[in-house]
Amino acid sequence: MKDFIIPWNDRDMGTPAVEGAPVTLTVDGFEVTVPEGTSIMRAAAEIGMSIPKLCATDSVEAFGSCRLCVVEIEGRRGTPASCTTPVAEGMVVRTQSSKVKKIRRGVMELYISDHPLDCLTCAANGDCELQDMAGAVGLRDVRYEAPENGSLINHFEPRVGDQPNPEWIAKDDSNPYFTYDPSKCIVCSRCVRACEEVQGTFALTIEGRGFDSRVSAGGPLDEFLTSDCVSCGACVQACPTATLQEKSVIELGTPERSVITTCAYCGVGCSFKAELNGDELVRMTPYKHGEANRGHSCVKGRFAYGYANHSDRILNPMIRDSIDEPWREVSWEEAIGFAADRMRGLQETYGRKSIGVITSSRCTNEETYLVQKLARGVFLNNNTDTCARVCHSPTGYGLGQTFGTSAGTQNFDSVEKVDVAIIIGANPTDAHPVFGSRLKKRVRAGAKLIVIDPRKTDVVRSAHIEAAHHLPLRPGTNVAVVTAMAHVIVDEKLYDETFIRERCDWNEFEEYMEFVRDVRHSPEMTEMLTGVPAEELRKAARLYATGGNGAIYYGLGVTEHSQGSTTVMGIANLAMMTGNIGREGVGVNPLRGQNNVQGSCDMGSFPHELPGYRHVKGDEVRALFESKWGVEIDPEPGLRIPNMLDAAVSGSFKGLYCQGEDILQSDPDTHHVAAGLAAMECVIVHDLFLNETANYAHVFLPGSTFLEKDGTFTNAERRINRVREVMKPRNGYADWEVTQLLAKAMGADWNYTHPSQIMDEIAETTPGFANVDYAMLEERGSVQWPCNDAAPDGSPIMHVDGFVRGKGRFIVTEYIATDERSGPRFPLLLTTGRILSQYNVGAQTRRTENSIWHSEDVLEIHPHDAEVRGVKEGDWVKLASRSGETSLRATITDKVVPGVVYTTFHHPDTQANVITTDFSDWATNCPEYKVTAVQVGLSNGPTEWQREYNAQADRSRRILPAAE
């Protein structure tokens, strides 16, 4: 197995690829055939000829401003720019005539006359296109000098003679990750165009004209940090010089090698190049052939990797007899032995089913597979669950019931063919930013947007995009809204009868129609309940049904409700009745929260399912694993996370191995989680940091970061992407090795020496992965499951010729109100979510400079609700529900409607989950995070509970020095 990968060809082709009929031309006598609409520059690049260029790059449309790429074309006058001139049949192009060479040298001479010649000490030395082009055109002399004391001095010298230079602007280093040095800017506009075209934020502009043209972030008084810039890095990536430069490169030097790997933040699963010197990571840059991200990134994946070296990271195993003792650092051998003895002892005392595991959606497929194998094959029970329980388990159930499999139907590229997108309970520009940018690009190109969300998220209205319809529903009424949309489509006969007759069961649909036609589902009747104006809902339903390719993208605002599974089924109904399934540009797309939440579900992390979503009651599937593992597998489902905690409180569940998840902070009703953990006799936390759960742990096993191990992640589009070992694990072992050590100490005969062997075992046992192996991923980059003999190239789009279950199934979706209701004591509804710069419990992002954008959780409250409570901007407020109370600062905004408040759960100091209740989805027990009845009042600061919590956490994190 190759350890280091030299990137596949990621040469800059100058202008973006286009689709079109073939056109043949000759470039310097060589014939080349390219799609119609391709630029001459790209056509030349296709046959290996790089025409000199500065303002062109293949991530943005051609601009034609630098005039360096001029060429001569037989039969045409002048010297057109090759970046903006499209090819034509029979065209004869000369790229190196004496005429164009002379022009290029003249252009370069002018550029260099206003550029500092400090190449040797410049951060971009060796990685600068201006430098390269000066070489390529053979520039040997600069004749121009600025007129003395004239206006055209230069832009790069702070002082001219004894006078300050009015044209010089100081470096802007306000952004924690990159600098903007105007003195090195050649005003090629690549950054401005990247911000517009790739990211879609429009934070940058060119101010002034001619010699006064300058790149500017925001208004005249803004710097990068105070502007609208979201720090995605697209401008830095596009900059040909050191003008926009990563601070890490300034500090560490230009990287000399790179490895392609996959980001470990959200479910988009962007491909990155980890660029290094030796084993020192210099920067992460988005990989342009990554099929999920197509060369784009966000502030988390691009910049927020510093946690790997944070001083909080624990590198030595630790144990303690009880949780009121300080930790003792011990050898790996002692820690594993201690953990194994305790777990076996618990099983002897309290029974086989008294212990269990939680697999991580942040770890690789291979690691997750091993953790569930540990439960089933070594503990001999099915007590395995994963954090998908608290996010997308209703997706698994709902899509499984309707379509036959629990996966998103599309690839991310599909968004480029969407005509109408419905976004329900998702905030893609914050939580799935690269997908958000791709969506916004499509909307700017004319696609229509329908947003169903209690909040006015950025996709409702921001620079150059605006939703056609925003349905600001009351939290908890998703089913009523989705069913009302179906009512409109059936009532107005907008359904696709041909599709339904072919692909679904018509009789079932007739039954469903009878249900949904009832007037109680009409938008006019549900308006009082949902708060959504009937006419607006009708228009939205009509648009989705008749507007061309309709795609639904949804997030945890759909699933984390007591009727989460029902809403997922309602969404599937909408897609089936409008025929929006089985081709590009349509489909049902769950936006997965964590990098490998899809993979952790695929790998059999749930207590009722073996890998590949096969129920443990199936004799055949059990026999398959039994013969492979040499054990008997329990045919009964095990405990889900909330059940484990309940069982712990009542005394029957005693030991837990928790890999890469912080249930104390992330799971609802913190008091209940803490009580469950405190009741256990052996809690093993396997993580990078002493997280909140570790406050109740007896064994701490240090984890490795995604940069330190080999494996695969599966993103929201079912894409299996390689994670590559960029550097050796600082803690000594990759996580799969640690699980193997524990399994062996408990008597298992596991002898994996590389994760590829684990993938081979997955492929042998799981039909959807049958043809997947590392050699294939090496060759192809990535593949979307199912990938087997029926689909050897993988499956970008599912249900193309028929549903996985055969006929698509319509399911009746009656609205049933949650038990959690607002009333006189708790009159407001709290809903929770994420923001761009932080990630989930924040264990990683809080330990990076990202905290500059979000250093604490704040409560969003509408001006009306704030006014009646006397709350002003920035005030400390107490947030109380039936479950508990906490306090945090308020911010006043009309992003939320009156009656609804919102906060994030990134910071343990706030512990938003003290407030959330233990109500959950009827089918899967996915917690109802999105609806909690609360009261808000002024407060003096942290509550008693917060102070006690922090004191307990501090006590619990004490570490004794290692005994020698």
């Binding site: 089913k353 099915n382 039954e511 249900f515 007591s562 599974s565 029902t566 207590p607 009722h608 129920h615 009651k617 009964e636 489902p637 095990g638 405990l639 889900r640 059940n643 309940d646 069982a647 409180v649 009542s650 029957s652 399911i811 009746v812 009656e814 049933i816 038990d819 233990d918 959950s920 009827w922 089918a923 899967t924 027990n925």
Partner: protein, 67 residues
């Protein structure tokens, strides 16, 4: 696990299947419980029902013999 919680969860499952067409709602409630609840939780529910099933939804009561 507390009876209130088991009862609430079981009743919640029943409330979905009660809205479904057909005659086999109790069977479907039982199937759901068999597929997703561990045997201990099912046994606790049955024991509770045997003692006092007044707080259980009618569909759960009908499903009890099938789990």
């Amino acid at each position: 696990m507390s009876h209130e919680k088991l009862t609430r969860m079981a009743n919640q499952i029943a409330s979905f299947f009660a809205t479904q067409p057909g005659q086999d709602q109790a069977e479907r409630v039982a199937a759901h419980l068999n597929d997703f609840w561990g045997p201990e939780m099912r046994a606790e529910l049955k024991a509770h029902a045997a003692e006092d099933d007044s707080d259980l939804a009618p569909l759960v009561r009908d499903a009890i013999p099938l789990i």
